[in-house]
Symmetry: C3
Subunit: 159 residues, 3 copies
Amino acid sequence: MDTTKKTIIVFSGEFDKVMAAFIIANGAAAMDDDVTMFFTFWGLNSLRKPEKVDTKGKSPLQKAFGAMMPRGPGRLGLSHMNFGGVGPKLMRRVMRDQKVMPLEELIATAREQGVRMVACTMSMDVMGLRPEELVDGLEYAGVATYLGDADAANVNLFI
Amino acid sequence: MDTTKKTIIVFSGEFDKVMAAFIIANGAAAMDDDVTMFFTFWGLNSLRKPEKVDTKGKSPLQKAFGAMMPRGPGRLGLSHMNFGGVGPKLMRRVMRDQKVMPLEELIATAREQGVRMVACTMSMDVMGLRPEELVDGLEYAGVATYLGDADAANVNLFI
Amino acid sequence: MDTTKKTIIVFSGEFDKVMAAFIIANGAAAMDDDVTMFFTFWGLNSLRKPEKVDTKGKSPLQKAFGAMMPRGPGRLGLSHMNFGGVGPKLMRRVMRDQKVMPLEELIATAREQGVRMVACTMSMDVMGLRPEELVDGLEYAGVATYLGDADAANVNLFI
């Protein structure tokens, strides 16, 4: 077993939980750990491009899911005190005041530090999300890949 | 330490989180890992029989909890976009379209693969759930059992 | 690696999830494990003093966050069936009937058993929580401290 590997399943799509996931991932990467983040279910929304992307072959239900789910880190809600979307704005402002890195930068830093980001293909099928709707530089895989990585890691979190 | 053991605490009772738990459990069992799932608090609802079961000796409050909590995987809500129960129906339909195994089959497969399912007795006391209200084939234990299993496992998740 | 260390990130501030965290922490401590709990984001609310504490230098937004977030374990909501605050009261009553240790005692027991409680300083900055607003006997640290502890532990949970 290698003590320098970490995996994080990002299941939740809330701003605060995604923040926590990236803060841990970046912290570990800064300590030279190999970090893999698996984005599944609502967590995939944090990887969506902010603009609408035309796609073909989606069922009406998949289109509806796609239309209702937030596109990218700028539109995620809070798990508490969301207040119809005002909560995240307020939290972002406090974070800026406190010089906390914004989520978009945390994601960019994670990439620069070589954090592997894996999108769960089964979840993408269910939610009708296509690779072209997600940011570049992702890997696409399923639960077997996750388990292989988790077996080689010493810290495995589900967020 | 044995690298082939996994434990999952299923605390949440939402359809999507319970799905994620069973997908991971089944994936690990398919790779010949020993998997133990501990169902506690709302997670116990996914193990309830769908029919109403007469029980004796419950306090009025326990009866109220029992009446308000969903009975079995067919009645669990979504953690996001539940829309008063329509959300899970839509997600189930998309899953069927995408040939994703439904939750009931995931649970049955987990049993066939020998995944151990343990119901937390303290949570059962609090929520007033009796063994006869839960599906067959469960073990009943507490936190000490969980910790013993987690100590012997290399992946431990809290969902 | 030492098989007797455990870490728990307490991110969620809901009564039921905080209960689960302390039940696991106390169970592990009773088995002579070294347990560290990291309180971050909403989890910090479970460590707030119940009374209002005067503080200086908070921004209006930080004051607003502070005013809206629950102060201490007595005011936490449930993750399901909160019913505007009635849910936690009902759950507490059932717990008392069932001789389950109340949350306040679980926290006191954790202290007596030597469970380390660490408050995340970055979250405190964002939410405008000051050490004087939190209960005594905490440590203050960031993600690097968490990762160091998690590396030395064999069970790491995110709740």
